[in-house]
Subunit: 291 residues, 2 copies
């Protein structure tokens, strides 16, 4: 069994750092697809499938934001299930961006929900507000090769409300949490120096990202906030290590490229491919060994 | 339109403080129900339906923990949808215990998911780790009468990892968050002195609960941790105000009463009714105006 953290490392080596976020709102979908498909489930899935087929050799992995599918009810979640299953069949890592967080037996249920059955993915995002004890139910699955991305410092403007509260000892909440994850992370190391306990660190806070990287050299980062939210390629140098150790998410910048930046009037899937290539190359230029 | 916070207040006045948690794991369900129903969706729903019918005049509201249904995949979520819809048709408040938390447009999607469509409930629990700006997408729904319960101090042993980090100013993270909620809460007041921005405060931390109550006299509390987790009726005096201002959740203590404390060998629904009555009366005795 190959651990997903090792697959991610390899994919980054071969395909670059781009993580494509399939945050598919129904109003992002071209009319042609809506006309072709009968219901919201098929429409969402077909849009995703075509983006995936157009970008699968450009991306390290996909991240599917479950909220967009939950918002469409049961049919939406059927599209979510089909999307993550499709990506897994292609042997490409898929992250369920579910940000679940709960205690004891309830956390076990979330682990079961997203690491087996209809919604099975390779990794999920988790929210640590309820305490690091609430992460324990996921560890059994890490031993089976899965990974978790624990929210530390998110990309939104108000992320500091809680995350940046400064303790008496002069540490932020996210730094204190980070320290706790390092110890546990040592129990779940892959073969390339990174643990299956990964973190989310937004690229809109470059100084803080750099400090976290220094504090956590064995932790793989999921880095949201690139592009639309203001994160820039040159800021990423501080987040990565020889170009690896992290994936950089873009959602609307890629899946909506056909509306936003499409002088040649490409079909949506080709426009997403072009946007992904551009992002990959820009990041490569800024952060990777040039040679 | 009657605001849900006012309905909750009225239900507590008339029926007491019990909130029944429908955290229905498949292995909680009696064999007889499993034999009668063909699939997991019908089995989960039938168990819930019979508990609801047996307890609807004993409880202030129901809380449905979505993780238990997510763990059963799409069929499980169909049972969740049917359960919350059934409770709403009875005009009893229902809380979706979803603990969602995400930023910007994603938070809008979660709000849409749980305040409309297949999964519509009257109130949801939300996680504030990403910052108070991430709560804003819910406010439109509060103006339509819905409510949110923001996690402050949870009932689990490790809840202090983040929640109790003490700031330079000598305040815990949950107190700092609580202060921020008070201001916003004033914009969403019901007719009985409580806001539609409610909080979750576990009854396993009695001193902290009492301090939060003093700090937040206009905030309605969802109080988990009663019974199995160690919370006691007499501790609740500090959390409530003249017996109102909060609901006390019990899940396994009620839905598994038929296995745990059932000397008369009652059917599961009758055993749950008896457990709910006992809990209601015990709380009444401890905290309410007596007579």
């Amino acid at each position: 069994m190959k651990m997903i953290i090792d697959k991610l490392f390899d994919r980054v080596e071969h395909y670059g750092n781009v993580c494509i976020g399939l945050d598919t709102a129904t109003d992002y979908i071209p009319e042609a697809i809506k006309a072709e498909k009968e219901n919201v489930e098929d429409t969402l899935f077909e849009f995703n499938r075509r983006i995936i087929e157009a970008t699968k050799d450009i991306t390290a992995c996909y991240k599917v934001q479950i909220a967009y599918y939950e918002a469409q009810g049961l049919k939406g979640l059927q599209a979510y299930a089909r999307t993550v299953s499709y990506i897994r069949e292609l042997k490409i890592p898929v992250i369920g961006d579910v940000k679940r967080g709960d205690i004891a037996k309830t956390a076990q249920m979330y682990a079961k929900a997203h690491f087996s059955g209809d919604f099975e993915v390779d990794a999920i995002t988790v929210n640590p507000y309820l305490g690091t004890d609430t992460l324990e139910p996921y560890y059994d699955y890490l031993r089976q090769g899965k990974a978790i991305f624990v929210l530390l410092k998110t990309s939104n403007p108000g992320s500091g409300t809680v995350q940046n509260i400064l303790s008496k000892e002069g540490k932020t909440v996210y730094e204190t949490l980070g320290e706790k994850l390092i110890d546990e992370g040592k129990q779940h190391m892959g073969n390339n120096g990174f643990s299956s306990i990964c973190t989310v660190v937004g690229c809109t806070h470059a100084k803080e990202g750099k400090r976290l990287r220094q504090q956590m050299p064995n932790t793989f980062f999921l880095i949201p906030g690139y592009g639309a939210q203001g994160g820039k390629a040159q800021d990423l140098t501080g987040y990565l290590m020889n170009g690896n150790g992290g994936i950089v998410n873009s959602s609307r910048g890629i899946i909506l490229a056909y509306r936003r930046n499409n002088p040649d009037n490409l079909p949506f899937d080709e426009a997403s491919r072009r946007a992904a290539i551009k992002m990959r190359d820009r990041i490569n230029q800024a952060v990777r060994r040039n040679g």
